[in-house]
């Protein structure tokens, strides 16, 4: 008896969850489907779901007309570049705070977090003017600098929460055996820290890839990453649904895949370790 009830409950839960999951996912699915339609099929009424002439022409057109891959490459350089530089600065800092905590370590961590609370619009004007005067406007270098700085607190925090979980005894044992600081980091800490660093890397590439305040305000045609490039479809050009969809699909696909891999770390990273 009890088993039958459980099974029925399980069936209902499954049906409900799949329906809601499908509805939430639907806009993405619809975008991907539309990217394979002709423009006529894309605005057909009633809408065509699966039975249309599948075509790849939108992808070719988007690339031809606007040199899509330059913007794609801008996104790659900006997100990966800012993340790697951020890691290079944050790893030593997080290591020191996790393993050699001082009296003020907690204050430093909290202060770093507080820089993240600064609304970007509060410093928009000076950053814009500094960039204009130093020739950094519309350059990838400029965006790498800004994104490194805005994501640095998150990187430090994520690494810190991971490093904290590495048992300090092991480090002490290595030190007893006469390991230098350098070899301690290289041979003892690094292998244990790699999973945490990898998650941090992944999450921050995602955040930088999707960042849409600074990328929109500090770039024009040359250094525009995909966020800014897609925004150009807000003009009537956006009414070419199939092309908008093709450009969008390529912009979100790599991040969706990375995101699914990092969903567990996402919780920890975005709540600064407050929820694990």
């Amino acid at each position: 008896m009890a088993r039958a009830v459980t099974n029925r409950r399980k069936t209902i839960a499954t049906a409900a969850a799949w329906t809601i999951g499908f509805l939430i996912f639907f806009p993405i699915l619809w975008t991907v489907l539309t990217s394979f339609k002709s423009e006529a099929d894309a605005i057909a009424s009633p809408p065509k779901f699966l039975f249309f002439d599948w075509t790849l022409e939108n992808y070719a057109t988007v690339q031809e007309r606007s040199n899509y891959f330059r913007h794609f490459w801008n996104s790659v350089v900006i997100s990966v570049g800012s993340t790697l530089i951020g890691l290079a600065i944050a790893i030593p800092a997080a290591w020191a705070m996790a393993f050699v905590p001082g009296k003020r370590t907690k204050d430093v961590l909290m202060w770093m977090l507080s820089t993240k609370m600064l609304p970007p619009v509060g410093v928009l004007v000076p950053i814009y003017l500094i960039f204009r005067d130093t020739g950094l406007l519309d350059t990838r270098t400029g965006l790498v600098i800004v994104l490194t700085l805005i994501n640095l607190p998150i990187i430090v925090w994520m690494l810190y929460t991971y490093f904290k979980e590495i048992p300090a005894d092991i480090l002490e044992a290595a030190r007893m055996d006469g390991a230098s600081l350098r070899s301690e980091i290289l041979y003892v800490l690094t292998p244990m820290a790699v999973p945490g660093i990898a998650s941090t890397l992944l999450l921050n590439i995602i955040l930088a890839w999707n960042e849409a305040f600074w990328t929109l305000n500090l770039t024009a045609a040359k250094a525009a990453p995909l966020t800014a490039f897609i925004a150009s479809y807000s003009s009537p050009e956006g009414l070419f649904y199939a092309k908008l969809s093709a450009a969008s699909t390529m912009a979100i696909a790599p991040i969706l895949i990375m995101g699914w891999f990092s969903q567990k770390q996402l919780v920890r990273g975005l709540t600064f370790g407050a929820v694990k």
Partner: protein, 290 residues
């Protein structure tokens, strides 16, 4: 324990991060403060002059400021209400035993990874367009009049778009919290004959309280700065119907080139964000001790 040498090495390792963040805070912030006291328009270079607090006076008495303040509150409040209520319900649903839980999780979390400009444009054009959007087709099939979402309910539409992006985040965090709930407690309550609603109210909800607080605070930080979604859908309009504080400061400084006024607005935005931040910091700080 930590030797003197390792202590100074530690300081050396922390300092680049600290110095960079310190510069990132102090330089632009003091410039914003400085500009906010100037009459400074980019169209009239060389005409900068001391303006005292007049920029603040004009910004704070501008009717657009009150519209923006109200819109910001409505946007943040609306999205929070939808994502928290939806997130709690979804987390409870996803926590039930079912087939293919992993797949459903992947489907639900997906919108969070879609960049803001893409989600805003996809919703605006392919769903909300009154002529060729999917909603228009749906309404026609149901025998209703197509509805021009962004013209007649612009704020509601933006709330809808932003909620779609943030519902996954709320769900994921609340689901993580749900999974640490001791199921024996719920089973015991069920055996004792407590109805589902009571079990939810007296066991599940108190358990989620902490996670809900975290979601509210973190989302608020991000939602105060919603920008791209507004830029590509309504440009803050019609009128000022969807202009939030972030968009207002952007428009004033980069569209009207009013550096002084925009900076004053920026300072106001910082003050407001800090009020929220204080609560968030206290929350996370407490967790650090635990």
């Amino acid at each position: 324990m930590a030797t003197k040498a390792s202590r100074s090495a530690a300081r050396l390792m922390i300092s680049p991060a600290v110095i960079l963040l310190l510069a990132w805070m102090i330089v632009p912030l003091s410039l914003t403060l400085y500009f906010s006291t100037l009459r400074y328009n980019l169209l009239m270079p060389g005409m900068e002059e001391w303006a005292g607090f007049s920029n603040y006076y004009y910004f704070l008495t501008d009717p657009a400021f009150f519209d923006a303040l109200r819109n910001t509150l409505v946007l943040v409040g609306g999205v929070l209400a939808i994502t928290i209520v939806g997130g709690v319900l979804l987390a409870i649903l996803l926590d039930q035993p079912m087939w293919g839980q992993g797949v459903v999780r992947v489907l639900v979390i997906a919108p969070f990874f879609v960049m803001p400009t893409v989600s805003a444009l996809v919703w605006k054009n392919m769903f909300m367009n009154p002529v060729s959007g999917l909603f228009a087709s749906l309404f026609k099939t149901l025998g209703l009049q197509p509805f021009d979402f962004l013209a007649h309910a612009p704020m509601f539409s933006i709330i809808l778009i932003v909620s779609w992006q943030w519902l996954p985040f709320a769900t994921l965090i609340l689901l993580t919290a749900m999974q640490s709930l001791d199921s024996e407690q719920l089973e015991a309550a069920e055996m004792d004959g407590a109805p589902p609603l009571k079990r939810f109210w007296f066991i599940t909800l108190p358990h989620l309280a902490r996670a809900i607080t975290v979601v509210i605070l973190i989302q608020t930080i991000f939602l105060l700065s919603v920008f791209a979604e507004i830029l590509v859908t309504t440009n803050g309009g019609p009128g000022t119907a969807t202009t939030n504080l972030t968009y207002l400061v952007y428009a004033q400084s980069l569209l009207q080139f009013d550096v002084g006024g925009g900076s004053a607005g920026g300072v106001v935005a910082i003050v407001l964000a800090n009020i929220v931040a204080i609560f968030l910091m206290r929350m996370i700080g407490k967790n650090l001790d635990a």
